[in-house]
Symmetry: C2
Subunit: 92 residues, 2 copies
């Protein structure tokens, strides 16, 4: 699972914790390039952390969501957040 | 804190959770090169996660240990371990 250490992977998973989202929603929430976001989402899908669901609508709708395996990461993100709030100084 | 995503950083911190250790002890516990271990320990010291203590003995003894900030990462490692045990298949 080297993937978890890759730049943006954590933030993408954290963003998806708030629920299923379209590509454009994730893209506008994070300061990450579309190309890199596509790449990371593909890797996360391959690792079984993210689901990609295509809705047969016009225009077609694609939504990304966390799998059970991805959702199970939630306590780790909560701990990381607590740790950062306590120990990491905000650089102003 | 990009440092936490770097290769070996997590394993070095995890190794130090078991208590203060000399460089050679950490080196023999992890399949990491001495050069990379030195580099990572310096970064971790700079970030305030690891203490480096020198004992004025002959020969000189140098021990590495977690700071309070480093020790506070323990719940994250515990959650990660639980997550991995449940969700990551061992590749044989």
């Amino acid at each position: 699972m080297q993937l978890l250490g890759k730049r943006w992977t954590g933030l993408i998973l954290f963003q998806l914790l708030s629920g299923p989202q379209r590509f454009s929603e994730i893209e506008s929430a994070l300061p990450v390039s579309g190309r890199l976001l596509t790449e990371r989402l593909k890797e996360l899908e391959k690792e079984g952390l993210v689901n990609r669901r295509i809705y047969a609508e016009v225009p077609v709708r694609v939504e990304y969501s966390l799998t059970d395996k991805g959702l199970a990461l939630e306590p780790i993100f909560r701990d990381l957040q607590n740790w950062a709030e306590k120990w990491v100084e905000i650089q102003s």
